[in-house]
Amino acid sequence: MFPLPANIYFEIAAFLTSVIFWNKIKNTRLRWLLPFLLFIVVVEILGRYIRKELHAPNVWLYNISVPLEYLFYSFLFSTFYKKNFSVALVKLFLVVFPVWVLVNIIFVQGFYNFNTHFLKVGSFCMLLFCLLVFVELLMGEELVNPFTEPIFWIACGLFLFNAGEFTYNIFSDIKMENWTTGEKLFLQINNNLIFVLYTCIIIAIISSLWAPKEKI
């Protein structure tokens, strides 16, 4: 199980940052990051323990955690959106997506097979929701410094992560049969994207120091 891969350390660092800055974020929408990041760390360590120590498949764990991640980020963005269209869209996702995931798990791909369908839809929706965050940040008629906007950093991390994952997710069904020499390179890109995502989350939490409270 040990040493843990570097991406888990980034996730732990993000969680610790949320603990350190708890006083600053506890009355803001960022407070949800603390339990979420704890959940991510627990899932990653548990997944690794199941695979490395118990030598058992851990796919079922990610079939639960990955949709929850999508739902969490969507929920976080829903608290930021001001435009009715964006709010309606994200609320629709929050209602329809879990139902669809359940249907997919129960009737289509099964609990113990990695569910690629929700990855495709999920990462596409994350890209869309991040773009909506960017649009709202762009359209605002008040002064907004993107570098001190926590939601901007979260959206940047998530946008880059899902942009990098999107092709992989789209081709996931094909590649699992024909995945050859590109795997190593792709995994390298993927790992770097995890670093990018959690670094952006860490910056988002730290930037709450400078952001006005009503904007965090």
Binding site: L131, F134, L137, L138, E141, E142, L143, V144, N145, P146, F147, C156, F159, L160, A163, G164, F166, T167, Y168, F171, I174, K175, N178, W179, T180, T181, G182, E183, L185, F186, I189
Partner: protein
């Protein structure tokens, strides 16, 4: 590994890199656009502030001009007429009828009082005279007028080593004091009115307080007092001063103004 497998590998890798580059471009574009928009918004806000400032200054200049005209009219016209009336009354021969003589004497006193009041009013309205007198003397004159009515006890307290502020700032401050005194007289039912001037080297502070009925400042609507207070806030903004109002029902009213001493005078009693 067949050619098909390699094709898919490269397709995935190139598309991934393509998407990542696109994402980076989007983020870069948004950041640059937002920063430019911020600069544009800042410029717009500054232009609006400048415009508001110029508008306010013009309003105050017009007001000062009007005050000056009225002051001159009082002095040159009504004042002259009353002086003539007083002269005529003084030229009356002594009347043997005591009641008539008493009435003439009372009228002389009334005309003399009207003349004095008009002179006070004229000088308190005339901006140039205020500039000549200086802030403390001008405020003192205003308080003396109130004191002379017999309805108020007034007090001017000065602390610190005094220095002169910019003439225009003194004029604006004086008008604010006048507005506060006017409000106190009209609405407060106060007995005591106090003006405090505090000359710290870095900050000049002024406060006008009364022991009247006070009011709920939060509920103040666009009444006469509300407009007066708004005027005071506007005037404070014009000279870059902080304006604060403290009042509650039954506890009197206090307005405080703090202004940074931008002159190079130090505490030398200038």
């Amino acid at each position: 590994m067949g050619p098909k497998g390699e094709d898919i590998d490269f397709t995935i890798i190139y598309l991934t890199l393509g998407f990542l580059l696109f994402a980076l471009f989007v983020i870069f574009f948004i950041t640059i656009y937002r920063l430019r928009l911020n600069r544009h918004l800042k410029e717009r806000v500054q232009m609006k502030l400048k415009f508001d400032h110029a508008l306010l200054q013009t309003q105050i200049e017009i007001q000062e001009h009007t005050f000056k005209n009225i002051s001159q009219e009082i002095h040159d016209n009504i004042g002259q007429v009353l002086s003539l009336a007083k002269l005529n009354l003084n030229s009356f021969p002594e009347n043997t009828e005591p009641t008539v003589q008493t009435k003439i004497d009372d009228t002389k006193h009334l005309v003399a009082k009207a003349l004095r009041d008009l002179r006070d009013l004229s000088s308190s309205m005339h901006g140039d005279k205020i500039a000549e007198l200086g802030l403390q003397a001008a405020i003192n004159a205003e308080l003396r007028i109130l004191q002379n009515t017999g309805q108020f006890t007034t007090h001017l307290q000065i602390t610190g080593n005094t220095y002169s502020l910019d003439t225009q700032k003194e004029m604006v401050l004086f008008r604010m004091v006048q507005e506060a005194l006017h409000n106190a007289v009209k609405h407060s039912k106060a007995k005591n009115i106090e003006v405090m001037l505090q000359y710290d080297p870095a900050t000049f502070s002024l406060s006008v307080s009364d022991d009247g009925i006070g009011f709920n400042a939060a509920k103040l609507q666009v009444t006469d007092t509300g407009i007066g207070l708004k005027n005071m806030q506007n005037r404070a903004a014009l000279i870059g001063a902080n304006f604060e109002l403290n009042s509650s029902a039954g506890n009197g009213t206090k307005i405080s103004i703090q202004l940074k001493n931008s002159t190079n005078y130090t505490a030398q009693g200038i």
